[in-house]
């Protein structure tokens, strides 16, 4: 059995993750605001302002550090609560400090101007070794989190023979196993190629090889975020309208499908590159479309859960069901508004993955719009919404200013809708991404997209205000009076749901299948690169 003290010690670990994530979000977003204002040319940039340095910091802190810390905290929390026992938190804390040290090392290196390589760090742009070592430590920290989660699942299987691994533990472990398989790519890129090269031990680097390794990791990275959001959508969101998880089997199936299909897809980020035959790009187009299947499964399950709960409350019909949902509870509106944004994120994603159609949007502002409406939509908004429910239960204090929290979710939605629409539109007109000043000395094409930059700055400003509101609530909730809170337990499963096939719990077997699929998808293009007569490139500091 668990003591009260054990719970408090576990809560402290999760609080550390979630507040570290909040700091990363706040700092990174303030740089994002400066970029939006600078691209709109609303203010003359001060002399110290270095667009690309702060863009690197914005990407690393928001897309990598914020998301990773939040998901590590969330998966740890859900797994610990699903498997209550007296346990050591040593691994959990080691993981946290390795991740924190790595993140701080990378952030300081970036802010000192020694790693202005953006968060994709494409060679032969050569950053200080501390940047590569720091980000690698962040990844290694997440592996320790995975070991901790798996150790808890193993303990469960050993001590509860005949029982099913709890749904949230299954989802958490599956998410981290997928993450582990994906991060092997970036770990090899760092440890074998970039770190020895940045230390001067190796003179040249095979640029295409590092790019393939990066995108082997880079796309599953976004599914890691989505799986974090799905953990919330399936297991927590139904609680907020008195509903249940639609189906245990379907939920486990969705996570297993994401484990299998997330990795063999990365080449769709490299459609426009030389050195990879069109056949391999076509193969990855097909596998990328396959990964849509768990998303449409999830869409079905969410609406089914809404409908069943509404029916029990005597509400019938689509419009009445939607109106009946708790649109005044920020823990619900965060994820729910995120789901609406995800519809557009998903459609945009299909366009990006559509082989030759990517030509129109590749490396334009469209991609930035897509990225923000996905990681800044369903992912971030679900995390912030869930935090409004989780944080008070961790601190044992009531949520500070719930109306501000509610307003935060709607403001975010509006800001993101405006900013992302403008970015998508500017991209169609040809405006490049990752570019400080897009006026090109008044070239005709450039004048066509400048109005969209103003809308993006308006949306970006609203988003920044929304983040300030979140930070205010997060800090305020540390000082509200102590109060008795209900425990952090996931939603129950519908009683009429079909029985879950036992095979869905064989995570190890599925992981093996996932590795086989990844090898099949990458053996061809990697063999092609290895047999080509290639030339290395010397590293350069062009900033």
């Amino acid at each position: 059995m668990m003591t009260h003290d054990q719970l408090r010690r576990e809560n402290r670990l999760v609080i550390a993750h979630m507040y570290f994530a909040t700091i990363a979000l706040m700092v990174g977003a303030s740089f994002g605001l400066l970029q939006a204002l600078s691209r709109a040319q609303w203010a003359a940039a001060p002399a110290w302002f270095d667009y690309y340095r702060l863009l690197t910091a914005h990407g690393v802190l928001n897309a990598i550090v914020f998301t990773t810390f939040f998901i590590c905290g969330l998966a740890t929390l859900l797994t610990y609560r699903a498997i209550p026992r007296e346990r050591s938190l040593a691994l959990g804390w080691i993981a946290f400090w390795v991740m924190a040290a790595g993140s701080a090392m990378a952030a300081v290196t970036i802010l000192r101007g020694n790693a202005t390589v953006l968060y994709t760090f494409y060679a032969p742009l050569k950053a200080s070794p501390w940047f590569y070592i720091g980000t690698t430590l962040l990844v290694i920290g997440t592996w320790i989190v995975m070991i901790d989660l798996i150790a808890n699942a193993l303990w469960f299987w050993r001590n509860r023979p005949g029982e099913r691994l709890p749904l949230v533990a299954h989802g958490s472990v599956t998410t981290f196993v997928m993450w582990f398989i994906a991060t092997i790519g970036v770990a090899i890129e760092m440890l074998v190629f970039l770190i020895p090269w940045s230390l001067g031990l190796v003179p040249k680097v095979n640029v295409m090889f590092t790019r393939v390794l990066f995108w082997y990791f880079g796309h599953p990275l976004v599914y890691f975020w989505i799986m974090g959001a799905y953990l919330i959508w399936y297991n927590l969101v139904p609680k907020f309208y008195g509903g249940r998880v639609f189906s245990d089997a379907l939920t486990r199936l969705a996570f297993i499908l994401l484990l299998l299909l997330s990795t063999p897809v990365g080449l769709h980020h490299q459609f426009m590159e030389p050195g990879i035959s069109p056949g391999w790009k076509w193969l990855h187009t097909m596998t990328t479309f396959g990964v849509v299947i768990p998303s449409i499964l999830t869409a079905f399950a969410i609406f089914a859960s809404f409908e069943l709960a509404a029916q029990r409350a005597g509400v019938k019909g689509f419009a009445a069901t939607i109106a009946w949902l708790p649109w005044k509870n920020p823990a619900f509106t965060g994820p729910a508004l995120g789901m609406i944004l995800f519809i557009f994120g998903g459609i945009g994603g299909l366009i990006n993955a559509s082989y030759a159609m990517d030509t129109v949007v590749h490396n334009t502002m469209w991609i930035v719009g897509h990225f923000h409406i996905t990681v800044g939509g369903p992912v971030a908004l679900s995390f912030l919404g869930a935090a409004y429910w989780i944080i008070p239960r961790l601190t044992g204090r009531r949520l500070w200013a719930p109306n501000l929290a509610l307003a935060q979710t709607y403001t975010w939605f509006i800001g993101m809708a405006i900013m992302s629409t403008a970015m998508h539109w500017a991209g169609i007109l040809g405006s490049p991404r990752r570019t400080d000043n897009v006026s090109y000395f008044g070239a005709a094409a450039a004048t066509s997209w400048m109005p969209q930059m103003h809308w993006a700055a308006i949306g970006g400003t609203i988003l920044f205000l929304s983040i300030l509101m979140f930070v205010a609530v997060a800090i305020g909730t540390l000082f509200t009076p102590k109060t008795e809170m209900d425990p952090i337990l996931p939603a129950a499963v519908e009683e009429e749901a079909l029985a879950t096939p036992a095979v869905l719990d064989r995570i190890g077997t599925w992981a093996t299948v996932a590795i086989v699929l990844a090898v099949l998808a990458y053996a061809g293009p990697i063999h092609e690169l290895l047999t080509m007569h290639t030339y290395g490139a010397a590293g350069m500091r062009t900033w």
């Binding site: 742009l125 426009m272 030389p274 076509w282 334009t364 040809g430 490049p432 005709a444 490139a537 062009t542």
Partner: protein, 153 residues
């Protein structure tokens, strides 16, 4: 699986297959494929390696041109090329330093230029005008100054 779930999943998967078929027909029948040139080049020797030792425009036939461009920090060489309206231009580009983008606004020319490789793609310019060629991959502190133009007369 309940009936509504079966209908939803079937409809979703059929939609995906239809999308893939459309892309497949476009790729195999209409030959719309992304640029995927497999030629390599030593990035340290670009200025001595033909044809990039003399970058520029070469006519290969009536209204047919090959354009060899070097993308380097922070400009294109040559910065400008001029062709008559109706010309089909095949662009070949490489980089002696870092990764660049090669994007012509208002066309479907959009390539990554990777040191060590040659990228190519072609486009028929039907409408006269000045097209903006720009680098759309971050390449360093002067990235936003990296542009050129294609003049179609």
């Amino acid at each position: 699986m309940i009936r509504s779930e079966r209908i939803w999943m079937t409809a979703g998967i059929i939609t995906l297959i239809v999308f893939l078929c459309i892309l497949g027909v476009a790729a195999l029948h209409d030959n719309i494929v992304p640029p995927s040139h497999l030629q390599t080049i030593d990035p340290a020797q670009v200025s001595q390696t033909p044809p990039f030792d003399k970058p520029g425009l070469h006519q290969t036939g009536p209204k047919q041109y090959d354009a060899y461009l070097v993308a380097h920090i922070f400009s294109f060489t040559p910065e400008s090329i001029t062709v008559p309206a109706g010309s089909t231009v095949t662009f070949y580009a490489t980089s002696p330093d870092v990764v660049h983008g090669f994007f012509i606004a208002g066309t479907a020319i959009n390539m990554m230029v990777v040191p060590g490789w040659v990228s190519d793609d072609s486009h028929t310019f039907t409408k006269p005008g000045t097209y903006l060629l720009l680098c759309n991959e971050y390449c360093g502190s002067g990235h936003h100054f990296m542009y050129g133009k294609i003049v179609v007369q």
